[in-house]
Protein backbone atom coordinates (compact mmCIF):
# COMPACT_ATOMS: atom_id res chain seq x y z
CA UNK A 1 0.00 0.00 0.00
CA UNK A 2 1.39 3.36 -0.94
CA UNK A 3 -0.54 5.95 0.94
CA UNK A 4 1.21 8.70 2.81
CA UNK A 5 -1.55 9.26 5.35
CA UNK A 6 -1.90 5.62 6.26
CA UNK A 7 1.83 5.21 6.55
CA UNK A 8 2.40 8.19 8.80
CA UNK A 9 -0.58 7.38 10.99
CA UNK A 10 0.64 3.82 11.33
CA UNK A 11 4.11 5.00 12.29
CA UNK A 12 2.52 7.21 14.88
CA UNK A 13 0.15 4.63 16.30
CA UNK A 14 2.28 1.48 16.48
CA UNK A 15 4.44 2.55 19.45
CA UNK A 16 1.36 3.35 21.44
CA UNK A 17 -0.26 0.02 20.64
CA UNK A 18 2.89 -1.76 21.69
CA UNK A 19 3.21 0.29 24.83
CA UNK A 20 -0.37 -0.54 25.71
CA UNK A 21 0.32 -4.22 25.07
CA UNK A 22 3.34 -4.15 27.35
CA UNK A 23 1.30 -2.35 29.98
CA UNK A 24 -1.39 -5.03 29.83
CA UNK A 25 1.14 -7.83 30.05
CA UNK A 26 2.93 -6.32 33.02
CA UNK A 27 -0.30 -5.59 34.88
CA UNK A 28 -1.73 -9.03 34.23
CA UNK A 29 -1.90 -9.87 37.90
CA UNK A 30 -3.49 -6.60 38.96
CA UNK A 31 -5.94 -5.59 36.27
CA UNK A 32 -7.92 -7.51 33.66
CA UNK A 33 -5.73 -8.79 30.90
CA UNK A 34 -2.52 -10.69 30.94
CA UNK A 35 -0.19 -12.46 28.62
CA UNK A 36 -2.72 -13.41 26.00
CA UNK A 37 -4.43 -10.08 25.56
CA UNK A 38 -1.23 -8.10 25.69
CA UNK A 39 0.61 -10.48 23.43
CA UNK A 40 -2.17 -10.32 20.90
CA UNK A 41 -2.01 -6.51 20.99
CA UNK A 42 1.70 -6.47 20.27
CA UNK A 43 1.21 -9.07 17.58
CA UNK A 44 -1.54 -6.99 16.03
CA UNK A 45 0.68 -3.94 15.89
CA UNK A 46 3.25 -5.91 13.92
CA UNK A 47 0.53 -7.29 11.67
CA UNK A 48 -0.57 -3.70 11.03
CA UNK A 49 3.01 -2.87 10.09
CA UNK A 50 3.03 -5.76 7.64
CA UNK A 51 -0.24 -4.70 6.10
CA UNK A 52 0.87 -1.11 5.58
CA UNK A 53 4.54 -1.45 4.66
CA UNK A 54 4.52 -4.83 3.01
CA UNK A 55 6.00 -8.19 3.81
CA UNK A 56 9.68 -7.57 3.10
CA UNK A 57 10.28 -4.58 5.40
CA UNK A 58 8.30 -6.32 8.08
CA UNK A 59 10.38 -9.43 7.78
CA UNK A 60 13.45 -7.33 8.13
CA UNK A 61 12.12 -6.11 11.45
CA UNK A 62 10.85 -9.45 12.62
CA UNK A 63 12.51 -12.34 10.86
CA UNK A 64 11.67 -16.01 11.05
CA UNK A 65 14.85 -16.61 12.96
CA UNK A 66 13.78 -14.15 15.60
CA UNK A 67 10.31 -15.60 15.90
CA UNK A 68 11.79 -19.07 16.24
CA UNK A 69 13.93 -17.89 19.10
CA UNK A 70 10.97 -16.15 20.72
CA UNK A 71 8.74 -19.19 20.41
CA UNK A 72 11.17 -21.81 21.61
CA UNK A 73 12.49 -19.41 24.21
CA UNK A 74 9.01 -18.82 25.56
CA UNK A 75 8.49 -22.49 26.27
CA UNK A 76 12.03 -22.90 27.62
CA UNK A 77 11.57 -20.08 30.11
CA UNK A 78 8.16 -21.39 31.12
CA UNK A 79 9.50 -24.88 31.74
CA UNK A 80 12.54 -23.37 33.46
CA UNK A 81 10.35 -21.49 35.91
CA UNK A 82 8.45 -24.71 36.48
CA UNK A 83 11.68 -26.58 37.11
CA UNK A 84 12.78 -24.03 39.69
CA UNK A 85 9.64 -24.98 41.57
CA UNK A 86 10.41 -28.66 41.10
CA UNK A 87 13.90 -28.37 42.55
CA UNK A 88 13.15 -25.99 45.38
CA UNK A 89 9.82 -27.27 46.54
CA UNK A 90 9.27 -30.70 45.05
CA UNK A 91 6.42 -29.95 42.66
CA UNK A 92 6.44 -28.65 39.11
CA UNK A 93 5.30 -25.03 38.73
CA UNK A 94 5.27 -24.15 42.42
CA UNK A 95 4.91 -20.48 43.14
CA UNK A 96 5.42 -19.11 46.62
CA UNK A 97 6.60 -22.28 48.31
CA UNK A 98 9.54 -22.34 45.94
CA UNK A 99 10.72 -19.00 47.21
CA UNK A 100 9.32 -16.59 44.66
CA UNK A 101 8.72 -13.30 46.50
CA UNK A 102 5.10 -12.52 47.14
CA UNK A 103 5.58 -8.77 47.39
CA UNK A 104 2.73 -6.49 48.33
CA UNK A 105 -0.49 -7.75 46.67
CA UNK A 106 -1.79 -5.10 44.31
CA UNK A 107 1.65 -3.68 43.53
CA UNK A 108 3.46 -4.17 40.24
CA UNK A 109 6.18 -6.33 41.72
CA UNK A 110 4.19 -9.00 43.46
CA UNK A 111 2.65 -12.42 43.02
CA UNK A 112 5.84 -14.41 42.66
CA UNK A 113 6.21 -16.13 39.33
CA UNK A 114 2.93 -14.97 37.81
CA UNK A 115 4.31 -11.80 36.16
CA UNK A 116 7.25 -13.77 34.82
CA UNK A 117 4.94 -16.35 33.29
CA UNK A 118 2.76 -13.59 31.89
CA UNK A 119 5.75 -11.97 30.20
CA UNK A 120 6.74 -15.33 28.77
CA UNK A 121 3.26 -15.97 27.45
CA UNK A 122 3.12 -12.44 26.07
CA UNK A 123 6.34 -12.85 24.10
CA UNK A 124 5.21 -16.20 22.86
CA UNK A 125 1.75 -15.12 21.77
CA UNK A 126 3.01 -11.97 20.06
CA UNK A 127 5.65 -13.76 18.06
CA UNK A 128 3.28 -16.59 17.20
CA UNK A 129 0.62 -14.23 15.91
CA UNK A 130 3.10 -12.42 13.68
CA UNK A 131 4.81 -15.48 12.35
CA UNK A 132 1.54 -17.23 11.64
CA UNK A 133 0.37 -14.17 9.73
CA UNK A 134 3.61 -14.01 7.78
CA UNK A 135 3.45 -17.69 6.98
CA UNK A 136 -0.11 -17.44 5.75
CA UNK A 137 0.68 -14.41 3.58
CA UNK A 138 3.71 -16.11 2.09
CA UNK A 139 1.74 -19.23 1.38
CA UNK A 140 -0.99 -17.18 -0.21
CA UNK A 141 1.52 -15.36 -2.41
CA UNK A 142 2.92 -18.69 -3.51
CA UNK A 143 -0.53 -20.03 -4.23
CA UNK A 144 -1.52 -17.03 -6.32
CA UNK A 145 1.73 -16.50 -8.19
CA UNK A 146 3.79 -19.65 -8.16
CA UNK A 147 7.38 -18.73 -8.68
CA UNK A 148 7.26 -15.12 -7.57
CA UNK A 149 9.85 -15.61 -4.89
Amino acid sequence: MDDRIVKSITRLVIPFIQLYGIFIILHGHITPGGGFSGGTLIGTSLILYTLVFGLLPSKKKFSHRMSQIAESGGIVIYVGIGLIGLFLSGQFLTNLDAGFPIGEPGELFSAGMIPLLMITIGIKVASTMVSLFHLLIEGDLDADHPGIR
Binding site: P32, G34, L135, L136, A143
Partner: protein
Protein backbone atom coordinates in the same frame (compact mmCIF):
# COMPACT_ATOMS: atom_id res chain seq x y z
CA UNK B 1 -46.18 -15.73 28.58
CA UNK B 2 -44.39 -18.13 30.86
CA UNK B 3 -42.62 -19.66 27.91
CA UNK B 4 -41.32 -16.27 26.84
CA UNK B 5 -40.20 -15.58 30.39
CA UNK B 6 -38.37 -18.90 30.48
CA UNK B 7 -36.76 -18.10 27.16
CA UNK B 8 -35.57 -14.74 28.39
CA UNK B 9 -34.21 -16.26 31.56
CA UNK B 10 -32.18 -18.84 29.68
CA UNK B 11 -31.26 -16.71 26.72
CA UNK B 12 -27.51 -17.13 27.16
CA UNK B 13 -27.68 -20.88 27.10
CA UNK B 14 -30.20 -21.05 24.28
CA UNK B 15 -28.06 -18.68 22.26
CA UNK B 16 -25.02 -20.83 22.90
CA UNK B 17 -26.80 -23.99 21.82
CA UNK B 18 -28.22 -22.27 18.74
CA UNK B 19 -24.76 -21.06 17.78
CA UNK B 20 -23.36 -24.54 18.28
CA UNK B 21 -25.92 -26.01 15.94
CA UNK B 22 -25.49 -23.22 13.39
CA UNK B 23 -21.79 -23.90 13.38
CA UNK B 24 -22.28 -27.63 13.07
CA UNK B 25 -24.77 -27.10 10.26
CA UNK B 26 -22.28 -24.88 8.46
CA UNK B 27 -19.54 -27.44 8.80
CA UNK B 28 -21.71 -30.28 7.62
CA UNK B 29 -23.62 -28.71 4.74
CA UNK B 30 -21.53 -25.89 3.28
CA UNK B 31 -19.29 -26.79 0.39
CA UNK B 32 -16.86 -23.91 0.67
CA UNK B 33 -13.87 -24.86 2.79
CA UNK B 34 -13.47 -21.37 4.25
CA UNK B 35 -17.11 -21.39 5.30
CA UNK B 36 -16.51 -24.69 7.04
CA UNK B 37 -13.64 -23.21 9.00
CA UNK B 38 -15.92 -20.33 9.94
CA UNK B 39 -18.46 -22.86 11.11
CA UNK B 40 -15.89 -24.41 13.40
CA UNK B 41 -15.11 -21.02 14.84
CA UNK B 42 -18.78 -20.41 15.49
CA UNK B 43 -18.97 -23.74 17.29
CA UNK B 44 -15.99 -22.86 19.43
CA UNK B 45 -17.42 -19.47 20.29
CA UNK B 46 -20.72 -21.03 21.25
CA UNK B 47 -19.03 -23.22 23.81
CA UNK B 48 -17.16 -20.24 25.21
CA UNK B 49 -20.47 -18.41 25.51
CA UNK B 50 -21.90 -21.41 27.31
CA UNK B 51 -19.02 -21.43 29.77
CA UNK B 52 -19.28 -17.69 30.37
CA UNK B 53 -22.98 -18.10 31.03
CA UNK B 54 -22.26 -20.83 33.57
CA UNK B 55 -19.86 -18.62 35.44
CA UNK B 56 -21.98 -15.51 35.36
CA UNK B 57 -23.52 -14.09 38.52
CA UNK B 58 -26.19 -11.45 38.04
CA UNK B 59 -24.90 -8.19 39.45
CA UNK B 60 -21.49 -9.67 40.08
CA UNK B 61 -18.17 -7.92 39.62
CA UNK B 62 -15.11 -9.19 37.75
CA UNK B 63 -12.98 -11.49 39.86
CA UNK B 64 -10.43 -8.90 40.91
CA UNK B 65 -10.06 -8.19 44.61
CA UNK B 66 -12.26 -5.26 45.67
CA UNK B 67 -12.03 -3.16 48.78
CA UNK B 68 -15.67 -3.76 49.67
CA UNK B 69 -15.95 -7.23 51.25
CA UNK B 70 -19.62 -7.69 50.41
CA UNK B 71 -19.46 -7.75 46.63
CA UNK B 72 -20.42 -10.81 44.60
CA UNK B 73 -17.62 -12.06 42.41
CA UNK B 74 -18.40 -13.96 39.26
CA UNK B 75 -16.99 -17.44 38.98
CA UNK B 76 -13.40 -17.12 37.72
CA UNK B 77 -12.83 -20.73 36.63
CA UNK B 78 -14.88 -20.71 33.39
CA UNK B 79 -13.02 -17.59 32.29
CA UNK B 80 -9.74 -19.40 32.72
CA UNK B 81 -10.97 -22.39 30.76
CA UNK B 82 -12.11 -20.06 27.96
CA UNK B 83 -8.75 -18.30 27.77
CA UNK B 84 -7.16 -21.65 27.15
CA UNK B 85 -9.82 -22.69 24.70
CA UNK B 86 -9.59 -19.55 22.58
CA UNK B 87 -5.92 -20.08 21.84
CA UNK B 88 -6.52 -23.68 20.91
CA UNK B 89 -9.27 -22.79 18.46
CA UNK B 90 -7.10 -20.04 16.96
CA UNK B 91 -4.26 -22.43 16.24
CA UNK B 92 -6.62 -25.00 14.78
CA UNK B 93 -8.10 -22.30 12.53
CA UNK B 94 -4.72 -21.20 11.30
CA UNK B 95 -3.69 -24.72 10.52
CA UNK B 96 -6.84 -25.45 8.54
CA UNK B 97 -6.49 -22.13 6.69
CA UNK B 98 -2.99 -23.10 5.67
CA UNK B 99 -4.31 -26.40 4.38
CA UNK B 100 -6.94 -24.50 2.42
CA UNK B 101 -4.28 -22.35 0.80
CA UNK B 102 -2.39 -25.45 -0.19
CA UNK B 103 -5.49 -27.18 -1.51
CA UNK B 104 -6.25 -24.09 -3.61
CA UNK B 105 -2.74 -24.12 -4.96
CA UNK B 106 -2.92 -27.79 -5.84
CA UNK B 107 -6.44 -28.17 -7.18
CA UNK B 108 -7.46 -24.61 -8.06
CA UNK B 109 -10.68 -24.80 -6.12
CA UNK B 110 -11.94 -24.65 -2.57
CA UNK B 111 -15.32 -26.17 -3.29
CA UNK B 112 -15.74 -29.54 -1.67
CA UNK B 113 -17.82 -31.01 -4.49
CA UNK B 114 -15.35 -30.07 -7.18
CA UNK B 115 -12.55 -31.27 -4.96
CA UNK B 116 -14.11 -34.69 -4.47
CA UNK B 117 -14.70 -34.86 -8.20
CA UNK B 118 -11.08 -34.01 -8.99
CA UNK B 119 -9.73 -36.51 -6.48
CA UNK B 120 -11.92 -39.26 -7.85
CA UNK B 121 -10.85 -38.46 -11.40
CA UNK B 122 -7.23 -38.71 -10.38
CA UNK B 123 -7.81 -42.04 -8.71
CA UNK B 124 -9.35 -43.41 -11.87
CA UNK B 125 -6.48 -41.96 -13.84
CA UNK B 126 -3.91 -43.87 -11.82
Amino acid sequence: MQIIQAFVDHINFIGAVALFLIGLHTVVTKKNLIKRIMGLNIMGTSIFLFLVAIGNVTGGVPPILQQDPNVNYINPIPSVLILTGIVVVVSMTVYSLSLTIKIYEMYGTINQDELTHLIREEEIHD
